[in-house]
């Protein structure tokens, strides 16, 4: 092992070449171009001029766009909190299952996660639609008299978001709970701590990296899931993602779209940075 790697003639460095090249050309390159583009000037109708300007960033501060940003962040927060409340107990209970059931539940959680998001959204359309499955059940059971008209509303978008991102939270919480040393909890219990006390002082602290990882894994994608807002919100809910998409395809203001992406990227990186500062962990838990 030791002597052959550092042999002067070793061509082992060539193995990293494809990945280095791909990463530099197709990932770093486009990202750098995005930053450059955000400082360029839009031509009258179509295209850009390489002339330095901060107009795009100033444009973000306009109330209309700020509102979209704030609305988007609000929805992302709501989504994150809801997934945490629903997903934490799931991940926690899942980690306590017997080996056999753990594997089964894991498989069942992962499958919808890999299935087409649009297909699952389509299922919700059938459920939410006026006089759809949900209305039928509610009206038959006498809980409501008129159709709820849930489709194309804010709650529908929220449910769709929570539903699509829940597996991230579950898997993150699960992986940190599973690694937990239960003897610490037992020790605390032996020393007289109640179940709740032991949970609050030990379990919650030990699983904190998982919780934080889950929050990031939910919060970040939630800002860009424009198709959920499109399909379940029917254009009533506007997210940063929808705004970027519209700027690219409809308004054709590419520098503005780039500036929006840069800001979104900064917000995203900030979250990951905070996560690393708090947990001292480099990789997010439960990503694979």
């Amino acid at each position: 092992m030791k002597n052959n790697i550092h042999k002067p003639k070793s061509k082992i460095w060539m193995t990293i070449l494809p990945m280095y090249l791909f990463t530099i050309i197709f990932i770093a390159g486009p990202l750098i171009y995005m930053v450059a583009l955000s400082f360029m000037t839009k031509k009258d109708v179509w295209g850009v001029v390489a002339q330095f300007s901060t107009a795009s960033y100033q444009k973000i501060l306009k109330p209309v766009y700020m509102n979209t940003f704030i609305q988007s962040i609000k929805l992302s927060f709501a989504t994150t909190i809801a997934t945490l409340i629903i997903g934490y107990p799931f991940g926690y209970f899942m980690a306590k299952l017997s080996e056999r059931y753990k594997k089964l539940v894991m498989f069942l959680v992962v499958v919808p996660f890999w299935t087409n998001a649009l297909v699952r959204m389509y299922g919700w359309i059938i459920i939410f639609r006026s006089n759809g499955v949900l209305d039928h059940i509610l009206m038959k059971s006498g809980l409501t008299r008129t159709p709820l008209k849930l489709l194309y509303s804010y709650p529908a978008v929220l449910i769709g978001m929570v539903y699509s991102l829940l597996p991230f939270m579950i898997l993150a919480v699960f992986s940190s709970t599973e690694k937990m040393d239960w003897s610490i909890v037992e020790a605390a219990r032996d020393l007289g701590a109640s179940r709740l006390q032991a949970f609050l002082t030990i379990t919650l602290k030990v699983t904190l990296p998982g919780i934080l990882s889950g929050i990031i894994l939910v919060f970040i994608p939630s800002m860009g899931l424009f198709f959920i807002a499109d399909i379940l919100g029917g254009g009533k809910v506007m997210l940063v993602g929808n705004l970027i998409r519209d700027q690219l395809f409809t308004t054709r203001d590419w520098p503005f779209a780039a500036a929006l992406s840069v800001v979104l990227m900064i917000v995203t990186s900030l979250f990951i940075w905070i996560y690393r500062k708090i947990t001292h962990v480099k990789e997010l838990e439960g990503i694979l």
């Binding site: 486009p30 539940v105 299922g123 694979l288």
Partner: protein, 270 residues
């Protein structure tokens, strides 16, 4: 003094043991509800998707006759195969190299290469769109493959790397001691050991590629439709029962891929 307390707790615990299972079961049912409904309605003999009109295979027949859908299916399969193959090669060689080479740029390079699955998809789609038009690449299959490869590499890379880290180095060392060349030891020892990780990484890449809609929308040309793009435009314009049938087929394909990938990954642990 604690005995009575512990006794009390034990007692309440007995009653509580069922609660977690109920919670898990209910949530799993909710998770599968939309999926099951799509499957059920794909056999629904009624134009209106709210009324149950009996069992039919009509939508599946119509699906096969839909030329544009079949074209989209073909595109999606070609795209999935090409990008998972490219990611498989680049990701595997990259992971092997990264564990052996000591370079200062390694950390930052690893960070940048995994960015595609860390940043919101929309940003990735956006940067690819503007970058490809800067390069003057024709939008279509080529741009789709490059974009999909970029988010498939991290999956292969991370899986192979974790396998390599957990791998018993003594096998490779034994082979080298017995006179095998570096390349020979790699082909005969390392490859078979990391093969399950490569295959499952590639299968998951294929599933991701087959499902992607956000990035594809940005980098596809006017004439190249993939299946998810087709579904997306149909969901926005008007829903036909054929989508149910198509979705069901896609569900089956994904289910099989995840199942096989899990099997391969869990088989043979060295």
């Amino acid at each position: 003094m604690n005995f009575t307390r512990i006794h009390c707790i034990r007692f309440t615990m007995k009653n509580r043991t069922k609660l977690p299972n109920i919670y898990l079961t209910i949530l799993l049912i909710v998770m599968y509800l939309p999926i099951i409904i799509v499957i059920i309605y794909s056999f629904n003999n009624s134009e209106q998707s709210t009324i149950w009109g009996g069992y039919t295979l009509e939508w599946y027949h119509k699906l096969l006759d839909d030329w544009t859908l079949m074209e989209a299916l073909k595109n999606s399969l070609v795209l999935g195969i090409l990008s998972s193959l490219a990611a498989g090669i680049i990701g595997t060689i990259g992971a092997v190299g990264m564990t052996k080479v000591h370079l200062r740029s390694k950390g930052i390079m690893e960070y940048i290469s995994t960015l595609p699955i860390m940043i919101p998809e929309i940003i990735l789609g956006m940067v690819f769109m503007v970058f490809f038009s800067l390069l003057g690449l024709p939008f279509g299959m080529v741009t789709l493959v490059i974009a999909h490869t970029s988010f498939c590499i991290p999956y292969v890379y991370m899986m192979v790397k974790s396998r390599l880290v957990g791998m018993e180095q003594s096998y490779v060392e034994a082979a080298r001691d017995l006179g095998a060349s570096e390349v020979r030891a790699f082909i005969d020892i390392t490859i078979p050991l990391i093969l399950p990780a490569i295959i499952s990484g590639m299968l998951l890449s294929f599933a991701m590629s087959l499902d992607d809609v956000v990035i594809s929308i940005f980098v596809t040309g006017a004439t190249t439709n993939t299946l998810p793009i087709k579904i997306y435009t149909q969901l926005k314009t008007g829903i036909t029962p054929e989508i149910n049938a198509l979705s069901t087929l896609m569900l089956i394909v994904t289910f099989l891929i995840v199942f096989i990938s899990n099997r391969i990954r869990k088989r043979k642990r060295y």
